[in-house]
């Protein structure tokens, strides 16, 4: 019941966390002076070069008595009887409470006792609406009692269902009977609300027995597959992937060819560095295989059959929600995305994710720098308290801006460095021209060459030069693009 802090307050012991007491503050001054356990003479001899491990004497430890007197005021706890409002009898149990708390206060855990109010029908309603040749009144009563007892946990209800003299019932039978009765009751009773809310409630109560049964049937057949069948399925799946990939590759090659032959007239967008689709196809292959291994086959289907029993309910809900106004959405921060109609291939299937997984990330090369810069401004780029769509957009634009800023800064730095270098060179040349000795010149060149080799990456001049060279090369190849014989080379480069 009591936390460590409570216990400390009972014993009135000060909080030992660093910073809150005086002891840790004393320590640094003590070590900068003469450390404990070294005699004064020795300390004067060896001075500041104290061994890193200082002998600890138990004497010093003995002084560390708990500070019982001057801590925070001691708090008293009492073993007291309490009344639990969730109970229907007069049982009084005891527990520890801080002295001085209100003895008549409502028990802290009372409000967790939520009671569901399930649907109930009257005799009249039953006679008029709910008669069913398959169900007797007694059994229906029994079913409703069970559902109330087990808080609508149908799995448990079905497990414990033992109506004397009744026929064996499937889980779906029970659900069907219960939900159909509830729907009838909602429809027939006066509704004090608008039609939308009524339709919503009806949607929540919808249950299609046949559909559920076929779904379970599928699930069972899926589970009873032999290892050979599973292996075959997997092989087929891989084959399909491979076909798709070759098709994609073919298309890409054709596009490239067209582009090379016709240039802008081909109507295709300009060539992209590193074709995304093909890369994706390649890299996703082993991944799929792996995930397949891990998750096994029962979860491998993209059909509603993996959905929870409530999937039908959710669909019904969605239907109704489309009716609803956008204002409601805006008020409750709901953004709707269009769900693609059919998910034909595995790769186009998107699992449900939290939006916090979609946090934008800066370019790999810049990631740490961007994060650092943002942190300087007190922005945590890897976590959003409220990852709403708007916030994500904001963060993304922020990251983009920061990236731009950093790149600009880098360029500025580089140019400045260039200028400085150039100036230095000019200065040196001026000096040489103005009466330098002949012997110095070659040495100077050497030095520069060494520097150039050492930190080639950092040397700004060199990088720029390289870039220039590359650019000129690509320019030349574009020029050459008109000549069909050289198109191969260009493709490789791309």
């Amino acid at each position: 019941m009591a936390s460590a802090a409570d216990i400390r307050s009972v014993l009135s012991v000060p909080d030992p966390t660093p910073g809150s007491s005086q002891q840790p503050q004393k320590k640094p001054t003590a070590t900068s002076k003469r450390p404990q356990g070294i005699s004064r003479e020795l300390y004067e001899l060896i001075g500041d070069s104290v061994p890193s491990v200082v002998p600890q004497h138990s004497k010093a430890r003995l002084k560390l008595k708990p500070n019982l007197g001057s801590g925070p005021p001691r708090s008293r706890w009492e073993w007291r009887e309490f009344k639990n409002g969730a109970r229907t009898d007069k049982l009084r149990l005891n527990h520890w409470v801080k002295a001085g708390t209100d003895p008549d206060a409502v028990y802290r855990f009372e409000h967790y006792n939520v009671v569901s109010n399930p649907y109930k029908y009257t005799d009249e309603e039953y006679a008029q609406l709910l008669e069913d040749p398959e169900w007797s009144r007694e059994e229906t009563d029994y079913l409703f009692k069970m559902i109330e007892d087990y808080d609508s946990r149908f799995l448990i209800v079905h497990d414990r269902y033992e109506f004397p003299g009744g026929v064996p019932r499937l889980l779906e039978d029970l659900k069907d009977r219960y939900y159909s009765i509830c729907r009838k009751l909602v429809r027939s009773r006066p509704w004090n609300g608008d039609e939308v809310s009524r339709a919503k409630v009806l949607g929540l109560l919808s249950f299609e027995k046949e559909r559920e049964l076929t779904r379970k049937q599928y699930l069972r057949s899926l589970e009873s597959r032999t290892p050979e069948q599973i292996a075959e399925e997997e092989a087929l799946y891989l084959e399909l992937k491979r076909l798709e990939q070759t098709e994609r590759q073919f298309k890409k090659d054709r596009d490239d060819l067209l582009r090379t032959l016709l240039g802008v007239e081909s109507g295709l967008s300009d060539i992209q560095l590193g074709d995304d689709s093909s890369l994706h196809g390649l890299s996703s292959m082993p991944e799929i295989k792996k995930s397949k291994k891990k998750t096994g086959s029962t979860m491998e289907i993209d059909s509603p059959s993996v959905a929870t029993p409530s999937s039908s309910i959710m669909q019904a809900q969605k239907r109704i929600q489309t009716v609803k106004s956008a204002a409601y959405d805006a008020q409750h921060c709901i953004t709707r995305t269009d769900v693609p109609q059919i998910t034909a291939t595995k790769s186009s299937h998107q699992a449900a994710t939290l939006r916090s997984y979609k946090l934008p990330t800066p370019k790999q090369a810049m990631a740490t720098k961007v994060a650092q810069t943002l942190l300087e401004y007190g922005v945590n780029s890897s976590r959003l308290v409220m990852p709403t769509r708007e916030n994500l957009l904001h963060l993304e634009s922020l990251i983009d801006a920061t990236t731009l800023l950093l790149e600009a800064k880098k360029n500025v730095d580089r140019v400045e460095q260039d200028i400085r270098l150039m100036k230095a060179k000019v200065l040196r040349r001026d000096e040489q021209l103005g009466g330098g000795e002949g012997g110095e010149a070659p040495m100077d060149v050497d030095q520069e060459a060494v520097a150039d080799d050492d930190d080639a990456g950092i040397q700004p001049g060199r990088g720029a030069r390289k870039k220039n060279a590359r650019r000129s090369m690509s320019v030349s190849s574009v020029d050459a693009a008109a000549q069909p014989g050289r198109s191969n080379k260009r493709q490789k480069q791309g």
């Binding site: 019941m1 109970r87 049982l91 005891n94 028990y107 855990f109 799995l155 699930l219 891990k294």
Partner: protein, 435 residues
């Protein structure tokens, strides 16, 4: 603890297993009192009976009609030699069969070991999932009428094992002293249709005893005399006949049940110390690679056990052909129990269960069992995930620990059956409240 929803009312949790009875305060992480469920008793009071009276917690005031005249319970109960003492166990196949010794056992745990007054504490008792309504009502009666507890609750060991692992839904595999059970638990409720159990541990034990006491081509049958009966012994080389002297004075006074109990203890010791199971099924090379291990019995006899120590554990997973041929009603091995349990569940929840397999019970501490179970499960099902606490206490006392958690929750206190309710409604309240 406030943030965890805890509110301790000094409840006491009692978990009665076939091997030990565990009792302790709710909210603790290990039971305070762990006493053997086996008890010693004498049918007629011998003339000179003064020894150990107070310390062993004997309860001669047994008002029952049984012929028991004197009982010896607790740590100094059956394990101490007493002339003419029999040993009994109130449990059979995990269920309490004989309620007479239960009161003295609980009284000893609460009053002599924990030194508490039961009238001050709400008491939570555990029961196996296959307990009968009559049994649990009898337990309520004992707690209210004989211990005068203010409140009582009876909870299911499987559910508690799942709680101890921090799960509301799980497939609980509990390997106890005499019974192994597989129980699907959903939202803290047992799915009774998926419950399977068998006396597999008892079979393994029997088999181990058979292997040890029977001679084979390498060694003679082993004498399992307990140390209480051995006056002195001399060290001998492995495999050589032991040299020891029996306490002849005691040999006359022992009973068959005590001797049996003591020998079973030796078998258990042997199994705990060097018994093991291979993680990938039976394989002569693997057995050879793991090597033989030496074990010494109280007689001084010692031997390097090789294949034998793995043969025992294999029985948890597979029954050898010759055994199956001779007795067709062998308790089912673990993989069969598990698939029987899982396939009787709704297909929708199988995945939930298989990804939350909780392994518990003292028998699961058998060396290598968790690894083997993992590989067996993954052979049958595509992806099963086993939760097996590394801390042996957590596994051995899993059901007690779950009870300790449950009875210290603030939201649980509305579920206690109070004495008032018991007096008002009588026995049916137990079934209504403890679902």
């Amino acid at each position: 603890m406030v943030q965890h929803g805890g509110d301790e009312v000094a409840a006491v949790v009692i978990d009665i297993g076939s091997s030990t009875l565990r009792a302790g305060y709710a909210g603790d992480d290990t039971p305070k009192a762990i006493i053997p469920t086996y008890y010693g008793y004498r049918s007629q009071p011998p003339d000179a009976d003064v020894a150990m009276g107070g310390t062993t917690g004997d309860h001669s005031s047994l008002k029952s009609t049984s012929k028991i005249a004197k009982m010896f319970v607790g740590q100094d109960g059956p394990s101490i030699y007493r002339e003419g003492m029999e040993v009994g166990n109130p449990l059979k196949e995990g269920l309490i069969e004989d309620f007479n010794p239960i009161t003295p056992l609980i009284r000893h745990a609460l009053e002599d070991v924990m030194r508490i007054n039961p009238t001050d504490h709400p008491i939570l008792v555990t029961e196996p999932a296959w307990n009968t309504p009559a049994n649990r009502e009898r337990m309520a009666e004992i707690i209210f009428d004989e211990f005068n507890a203010p409140a009582f609750y009876i909870a299911n060991t499987s559910v508690l094992n799942a709680f101890a692992a921090g799960k509301g839904s799980a497939l609980v595999i509990d390997i106890g002293h005499s019974e192994a059970s597989v129980t699907p638990v959903i939202d803290g409720f047992v799915l009774r249709k998926g419950l399977v159990h068998s006396s597999l541990p008892a079979l393994v034990h029997q088999r181990a005893k058979h292997i040890l006491t029977q001679a084979n081509q390498n060694r003679r049958g082993i004498n399992l005399l307990p140390h209480q009966l051995i006056a002195n012994k001399a060290p001998v080389d492995p495999g050589v006949d032991p040299r020891f002297n029996v306490r002849e004075d005691r040999l006359q006074g022992i009973t068959k049940s005590w001797r049996n109990w003591a020998e079973n203890r030796e078998v258990d010791e042997w199994m705990h110390s060097i018994g093991s199971v291979l993680d990938q099924g039976w394989n002569e090379q693997a057995v050879a690679a793991r090597g033989a291990r030496q074990y010494e019995f109280p007689t001084g006899y010692n031997y390097y056990f090789g294949a034998e120590r793995f043969e025992v554990g294999e029985l948890f997973f597979m029954h050898p052909q010759h055994l199956q041929a001779t007795n067709p009603n062998l308790p089912k091995p673990l993989p069969q129990l598990i698939s029987a349990s899982v396939t009787s569940c709704d297909p929708d929840i199988r995945q939930v269960l298989l990804s939350n397999v909780v392994l518990s019970g003292g028998g699961s501490l058998f060396s290598g069992l968790a690894d083997r179970l993992n590989s067996e499960l993954n052979r049958i099902f595509n992806h099963a995930k086993i939760h097996a606490p590394g801390n042996p206490a957590e596994r051995r006392y899993g059901s007690w620990l779950g009870g300790s958690i449950l009875a210290s929750l603030g939201t649980f206190h509305q579920l206690w059956i109070s004495k008032e309710e018991w007096q008002e409604h009588g026995r049916p309240i137990v079934g209504q409240r403890c679902k």
